[in-house]
Symmetry: C2
Subunit: 167 residues, 2 copies
DNA sequence: ATAAACTTTCATTTTTTTTTGAAAATTTAA
DNA sequence: TTAAATTTTCAAAAAAAAATGAAAGTTTAT
């Protein structure tokens, strides 16, 4: 396999993986492209490589920057903007975890807390509901706290965690 | 908040959370519904509660069973089938991890291995590509192995892990 | 200030995903 | 068997999500 083919395969695969995890395909593809680019890439070049429109590129770059995993870069004497991806994988994982926690898990926790707090009339049905949603709340809270902890480790948390887990 | 309202809110929220993680909304809703039901539910009742068609219910129940997190149940003297969800949350997490690993992570790993194995002509560009995809392969492999380990713990892995992490 | 270079926005179109529902298949009871 | 009850399948329709592209907005150089 030659370089161009490999690069393309990587970008396509990363895009598909993104879709399966609720991230829009183009967004994941742009991210993939930037991750394997040794230098910052212009919007024009992204459009060209991925065959997408200006609007699409602009919107998804914005989203990636909102996630904190893509940065704008200015080159001296160049008017247009260039983009780079966070290339440190620990840092990338930390940022993705933090965002997903903030955007998705925390709001879900809030709802779980609310619904598990109903004053049940003690029918078997209602008791089971309260019991199950309470357990779910505790579980998700623990998982989310774990993410927070991992986030604090920051450098090389994954390797450290693996060592711990493997004993 | 009363029971019916709480139940509905939970089902809607679980559905929305599913979508954000690449799981079809109805599938997540059916799962939510079964999780908080104290006894097995018929397809008819699922259709009724979620206001969905027979085909939709049938297909998503099948998908949930393929994931191994919903079971069919037969009641004596009853012709139709009833469904229950895996209610143990550790078991649920383990099954979801295993499936996502098998369906999504393992194939992605295979591609990462392939593309990182190109014989580079040692341009800076190609060197960076090989370097980055190799790092990504190692990272994803480690993360995936961690999931495997967690899976082995099976009972109460999350609590144990939290204890470890918190030191 | 003007205008060229470039980016963002958003109504419209396109694509993708999900849902429907009716026909086919299956299962069970008589 | 036959037929009633139930489930599955899948082509077509609907809904949701993503992409386009041109106009509006910004920025920078002169």
């Amino acid at each position: 396999m030659e370089f161009k083919e490999a690069k393309n395969k990587f970008v396509q695969t990363w895009g598909a993986l993104g879709s399966q995890w609720g991230i829009n395909k183009t967004m994941a593809q742009i991210h993939a492209l930037l991750m394997v680019s040794h230098e910052a890439v212009s919007m024009e070049d992204i459009m060209e490589e991925l065959q997408i429109s200006r609007g699409n590129a602009s919107m998804n770059l914005r989203a990636l920057m909102d996630w904190g995993i893509v940065y704008k870069e200015y080159k001296a004497g160049e008017r247009r903007e260039f983009f780079t991806a966070e290339k440190d994988l620990d840092e990338l994982a930390v940022k993705i975890s933090r965002e997903r926690s903030k955007r998705e898990i925390k709001p879900a926790l809030k709802v779980l807390k609310e619904v598990s707090a109903i004053t049940s009339d003690n029918t078997a049905e209602e008791k089971h509901f309260v019991d199950q949603t309470t357990k779910l709340y505790d579980f998700v809270l623990k998982a989310d706290n774990m993410l927070d902890k991992i986030t604090e480790y920051k450098d090389n948390w994954l390797a450290k965690l693996v060592v711990k887990i493997m004993k």
